[in-house]
């Protein structure tokens, strides 16, 4: 390809240009957009083309396991996909510290800069969505999902905060930190989402968007899990807030059944043999209130909605069929992307600031490409606080926890760059808790603040958010441009409504990292945590009943912690 000089001539070297990784010098940093568990996010201009990008720094200080495996996974996946409705990884950028000595490089993921995320937009009272616009977004979402599923990829973290929206009306699916390859045959037109033949970890998807089969611990799940999330997003666009905001996994299952009716052999064949079904059997029968609650969708809209929120994962509509649903063919017709009104950035910013005071909770977790702006950033810089403002989560933590006993402060290896407060904090005991019930806790309104000191988390309140941690592994990865709402003081009230997801997760994750992982290595391991931690992300929810309890103690006892970690690790492997 590149040059084909005769072999006989003196070697001149290979002249081709390799693409995929460039020096950080090619980019001009414009502003810091946020700092997530896994690194800072900057808005930057490419000097070569003048285009704007979001650069997410991957932290790898002291990593004992080298470059975080979760980041490798995400990069690998993002590199093999390309679709208009999926956030593209443009390339990687490397910054080599000038200092002498062997210093490790700092690596950035470069993605297009998107101005909003859906969750942020829905939070903005000034932005109104018309039905035609909602159809446009949903169609784009389904096209992105159809593409992913057709390429054997499960996203596993579908939610409004992971849907980025450009100022041109383009919607893109972001955050592939939990995504994985799907080994089964891909969905076919008219045939639902197929069946899986192997087990996958059920610790995925942010709680509020988690489908019933995962809540009941089905391991052989299918692309149908992403469609459930899409259904939740669909409803959310009408209600302007997440529609199923369970404060624990059990509660999540309860409210799902309240909405769509209790599972039975007809609506969800095989449900009673799922591992998590036991407790559900005693619950009162529900007939479902979906038609009343969502009559604003119209007849066909409701039909699509019900097909997305179908309990039976084998019959849940697949993305191919969803695109062809009559809903998108009838009036009002889906708006064209280019006709979607632009939302003013500054506007957004204001809103964000406003939100910060009042609505602490939003989860924004944007992710990789995240919505940088979307969330909060703006030209103004981070809203609140100074340094640490980064993730809200973190901040909070900092304040609150002190760290696990015995662990030297500061040791946190993982994510190093966090604000100091955070760092020290070890995981509080609470944190580890399993997610469960409290899972959300972190994020929840509560996570707020310092309220819980080190102690075990208070049981209640926390839940508010589901937490899923998006960022999984350790927080590490996922990052998000998370703003600081949290930082704000007022979190609680609002929080409830929206925010769980994201944040909680983080927090938790974070904690986990610090906590759990710590066991072995006090210092360096950020990665490790990160990496493996990832798994946890989902973890919160994992078993309904079981673990909650020990969760509490977990943090205290090293052994347990270890064990846990190993377990996570295993899971990870899947």
């Amino acid at each position: 390809m590149a040059n084909t000089t005769a072999a006989a001539t003196p070697p001149k070297g290979i002249t081709r240009r390799f693409h995929g990784c460039s020096k950080i010098g090619e980019y001009e940093m414009i502003q810091k957009l946020g700092e997530g568990t896994f690194g800072e996010v900057h808005k930057a201009r490419d000097r070569r083309s003048g285009k704007m990008y979001a650069l997410k720094k991957i932290l790898m200080h002291n990593e004992k396991d080298g470059f975080p495996i979760t980041a490798l996974r995400e990069i690998k996946l993002l590199k093999i996909i390309s679709h208009d409705n999926v956030l593209k990884l443009e390339e990687m950028a490397v910054e080599r510290p000038k200092a002498e000595g062997r210093k490790r490089a700092i690596l950035y993921m470069v993605t297009p800069y998107m101005s909003h995320d859906l969750s942020g937009l829905l939070d903005n009272p000034d932005v109104q969505f018309t039905v035609a616009q909602i159809k446009c977004y949903m169609l784009q979402l389904f096209k992105g999902l159809r593409y992913l599923h057709d390429n054997h990829i499960l996203h596993r973290d579908m939610k409004a905060a992971n849907l980025l929206i450009s100022n041109r009306g383009r919607l893109q699916i972001a955050d592939f930190g939990l995504a994985r390859h799907y080994d089964e045959p891909v969905p076919q037109r008219g045939r639902g989402n197929g069946e899986a033949r192997r087990d996958y970890t059920s610790l995925v998807v942010t709680r509020w968007y988690r489908p019933p089969e995962l809540l009941l611990s089905l391991r052989r799940y299918t692309p149908a899990i992403d469609l459930w999330g899409a259904g939740c997003v669909f409803g959310e666009m009408f209600k302007r807030k997440p529609i199923l905001t369970g404060h624990s996994d059990i509660n999540q299952a309860q409210i799902i059944f309240e909405l769509v009716g209790s599972p039975n052999n007809e609506s969800m064949p095989g449900w009673d043999s799922l591992p998590g079904a036991q407790s559900v059997k005693d619950w009162p029968r529900q007939t479902g209130s979906i038609t009343n609650k969502f009559n604003m969708l119209g007849r066909t809209g409701l039909d699509l909605f019900q097909k997305l929120l179908m309990l039976d994962w084998k019959k849940r509509i697949n993305a191919i069929d969803a695109i062809e649903h009559p809903y998108f063919k009838e009036d009002p017709k889906p708006m064209r992307e280019e006709d979607i009104p632009r939302f003013n950035d500054s506007h957004e910013l204001d809103r964000r600031n406003a939100r910060k005071d009042h609505l602490p909770a939003a989860p924004a977790g944007g992710t990789v490409g995240g919505g940088p702006n979307g969330e909060w950033t703006g030209p103004g810089g981070p809203p609140n606080t100074g340094g640490p403002w980064m993730n809200g989560d973190r901040q909070r933590y900092g304040a609150r926890d002190q760290g696990p006993p015995g662990v030297p402060a500061g040791g946190r290896g993982g994510f190093d760059r966090r604000p100091p407060g955070y760092e020290n904090g070890g995981p509080p005991q609470g944190r580890h808790q399993p997610d469960w019930g409290n899972g959300g806790r972190e994020r929840g309104p509560g996570y707020g603040g310092g309220r819980h000191g080190n102690g075990p988390p208070p049981g209640d309140r926390r839940h508010i958010l589901p937490h899923q941690a998006r960022h999984g592994p350790g927080g590490g990865d996922r990052d998000t441009y998370i703003p600081s709402y949290e930082g704000g003081a007022r979190p609680r009230e609002d929080r409830r409504s929206r925010g769980p997801d994201e944040r909680p997760g983080d927090g938790r994750r974070g904690s986990r990292d610090s906590g759990n992982s710590r066991d072995g290595f006090i210092n360096d391991r950020p990665d490790h945590n990160r990496g493996y931690g990832g798994r946890d992300r989902a973890g919160d929810s994992r078993n309904f009943g079981r673990e909650r309890r020990d969760g509490r103690t977990r943090s205290r006892s090293p052994d347990r912690r270890d064990r846990n970690r190993d377990r996570d690790r295993d899971i990870y492997r899947r």
């Binding site: 390809m1 590149a2 040059n3 084909t4 000089t5 005769a6 072999a7 070697p11 001149k12 070297g13 290979i14 081709r16 390799f18 693409h19 995929g20 990784c21 790898m60 990593e63 004992k64 396991d65 080298g66 470059f67 495996i69 490798l72 990069i75 690998k76 590199k79 093999i80 996909i81 390309s82 390339e91 990687m92 490397v94 062997r102 490790r104 490089a105 690596l107 390429n151 045959p185 891909v186 008219g190 045939r191 639902g192 197929g194 069946e195 097909k307 179908m310 084998k314 019959k315 849940r316 509509i317 069929d321 062809e324 649903h325 492997r573």
Partner: protein, 338 residues
């Protein structure tokens, strides 16, 4: 819309389809011409092409040995070998002023470390390091622990070289596994239970790790070539479809298969001459060109005029004990029972 039909029964195999464009593009940037292989950075820096090839072999051999010690699957080792070979297309093994080259073993260890993560076959860092020390010292039972000086040296090398490797590889981490492609082809033709065929094709693939074949052909071509060679060896004929020979259905050109087979054949020819026994693989070579593409392979089978290897691995004999040879045997074993 939602159909009630549930898939039952074995799904029909999906028809082969080309890999996603992004993957093709990434793979393309790592495919070179024969001439370009002779322009590799180390050669530009004055290492002779033969020597360079030997170093590559030694590096891959290192990967295979460490990999076997860690019981890593062959697929992971093959990915590591690809990373290793790609790395050497951008970085030199020779020091220059202002540039401190990595040793080929160091590169090999780092690419293996990366491959274990990429392929989701992680090993504990400690185990990996210990295996590297043992292989490097050629003492498989050496007592190595954290007190050993070499332990830390290796560990640091691996950790510090990782980002250099990542950058050099442009983060092109998705190497389509030729093993998987080949296995899919076997399944496509319903012959995945033909053990002889499967083992033969698999062994050809594994052995090809020691060549630079991954820099010349796509994984798909390499997979098809191994299957082709395996099918010939065990005399199995794969069916045509709609009048098209199987390789066309699999989107591969026969000419590429032939070229790839010849490259693989070089390994065997070189090593068999060493033992003085006739290699059972000698019949593998066939002219790349000038053959009627329609000719069924059973006909092209017999003629194997031994041409001198195009870029012969002649010097594999040079390393006393036949580094290369040993590795071949080992890798083959490793593979076959997998």
């Amino acid at each position: 819309m939602v159909s009630t039909a549930i898939d039952t029964g074995a799904p029909r195999p999906e028809r082969p389809r080309p890999p996603p464009p992004a993957v093709v593009e990434a793979e393309q940037q790592w495919l070179f011409t024969d001439e370009e292989l002779l322009q590799a950075p180390s050669i530009v820096d004055g290492i002779t092409p033969e020597e360079e090839r030997t170093l590559r072999r030694k590096g891959v051999n290192f990967i295979l040995q460490v990999g076997m010690m860690l019981k890593l699957p062959q697929t992971t080792l093959s990915t590591a070998a690809v990373f290793f070979n790609r790395f050497l297309m951008r970085n030199s093994l020779k020091n220059r002023p202002g540039y401190k080259a990595l040793h080929h073993y160091q590169i090999a260890a780092t690419t293996l470390f990366l491959a274990t993560k990429v392929e989701e076959n992680c090993r504990k860092m400690k185990e990996l390091v210990i295996a590297c020390v043992r292989v490097a010292l050629k003492d498989p039972n050496k007592l190595v622990d954290e007190q050993t000086k070499d332990f830390w040296k290796w560990r640091d090398t691996i950790l510090y070289s990782e980002d250099v490797v990542l950058e050099t590889l442009c983060f092109d981490l998705s190497v389509e596994s030729p093993y998987k492609i080949m296995y899919d082809m076997l399944k496509y033709y319903g012959v995945e239970h033909n053990k002889k065929l499967r083992n033969a094709a698999w062994a050809f693939l594994s052995d090809s790790c020691l060549t630079q074949i991954c820099l010349l052909f796509t994984s798909r071509t390499i997979a098809a070539a191994s299957l082709y060679a395996g099918a010939r060896l065990v005399e199995v004929e794969l069916p045509n479809e709609d009048g098209k020979p199987w390789w066309e259905v699999q989107l591969i050109k026969l000419r590429d298969i032939r070229r790839a087979c010849n490259l693989m054949a070089d390994i065997y020819e070189a090593s068999s001459s060493k033992d003085g026994e006739a290699s059972i693989y000698v019949g593998l070579r066939s002219p790349e060109d000038g053959i009627d593409f329609e000719t069924p392979m059973s006909l092209t089978n017999s003629q194997a005029p031994d041409q001198p290897p195009a870029n012969g691995n002649v010097n594999s004999n040079d390393n006393g004990n036949g580094n290369g040879h040993g590795a071949e045997e080992m890798s083959e074993e490793g593979e076959l029972d997998g």
